[in-house]
């Protein structure tokens, strides 16, 4: 799974700098990836992972974050899983303005399914 997250981070970096762990003083905009619940029902079965991807922007107004959101959405929908076998689905997507009235965050909640092993 770690290899997948690293590969995903690399792919999303095409949109803007992407991190699994944000370094301090990171300039905006940037993307964060946070893996959530991960479940494999059987030792050989598929694994389903919940993933949260957030775009962070402090650009005045919504122009920047809406552009980045569209680019990220396109990238996710056409995401090439190789060399992994699997697929992903956007479950939720929404934009909020934080209490500082400066930072906008667009959150994608994704379900990622890694294919199981067909034979033993």
């Amino acid at each position: 799974m770690r290899e997948f997250l690293i590969m995903l981070r690399k792919s999303l970096s095409e949109v803007c700098p992407t991190f699994l762990q944000i370094p301090s003083q990171t300039p905006y905009p940037y993307i964060t990836i946070s893996p959530g619940r991960s479940l494999q029902g059987l030792p050989w079965g598929p694994r389903v992972l919940l993933l949260t991807i957030k775009i962070w922007s402090q650009y005045t107004g919504t122009q920047e974050i809406l552009r980045l959101t569209k680019e990220l959405e396109n990238l996710i929908q056409e995401y090439n899983f190789r060399p992994f076998e699997g697929s992903l689905k956007i479950v939720e997507s929404g934009l909020i303005l934080l209490k500082d009235k400066q930072t906008r965050v667009h959150t994608f909640l994704l379900k990622v399914r890694f294919q199981g092993r067909p034979y033993e």
């Binding site: 030792p43 899983f81 697929s87 689905k89 379900k111 199981g116 034979y119 033993e120």
Partner: protein, 171 residues
């Protein structure tokens, strides 16, 4: 893209599951009601059904973003269905070969502690494995030839979802 393990092939037409149409499918597999249960003269309850008529019925449904390619699907259409619902057979200790009731697409042999053992699929639904196997189970996803009884499509336009279900009966 590998969105599902489920496969639906419309015989003579090709695969029916288009991208974005089959994520998070569910499938039921139910023995078709056939024959009946009767009491013998001794009072035992026995089935008088025909073994050759032991078939499955299945309902597959899904809620995703696109419709599957069901345009040429009508009652009676033949499908090859690679099921996501698996079947499991008990394997006794001391044997090294079993015959499955249906054609497997994928199979896994494991002992009573859950340890996985190598198994090889052969001709005529036969599966062979080491004679050291201490007993356990084979789980496999069957490939079934099924006949369409009915299907259903539905779109929630503002909810951006497309739902579908198909009712099937084994040929």
């Amino acid at each position: 893209m590998n969105e599902t393990d489920l496969t639906i092939e419309i015989m003579g037409k090709g695969h029916a599951l288009s991208p974005f149409s089959a994520r998070e499918c569910t499938q039921t597999l139910t023995p078709l009601p056939q024959g009946s249960l009767r009491r013998t003269i001794n009072g035992s309850l026995v089935s008088v059904g025909h073994k050759g008529h032991q078939k499955f019925q299945s309902t597959i449904s899904c809620k995703d973003k696109a419709s599957p390619a069901f345009e040429c699907l009508w009652k009676g259409t033949l499908l090859k269905v690679g099921c996501i619902q698996s079947l499991t057979q008990t394997v006794h200790e001391g044997i090294s070969r079993v015959q499955l009731e249906r054609e497997p697409i994928t199979l896994h042999l494991y002992d009573n502690h859950g340890k996985i053992w190598p198994a090889e699929k052969g001709e005529d639904r036969r599966v062979s494995f080491s004679s050291d196997f201490p007993g356990g189970f084979i789980t496999y996803r069957p490939l079934l030839t099924m006949v369409v009884k009915n299907y259903h499509l539905e779109t929630d336009e503002w909810g951006l979802t497309v739902g579908w279900s198909v009712e099937l009966e084994e040929e």
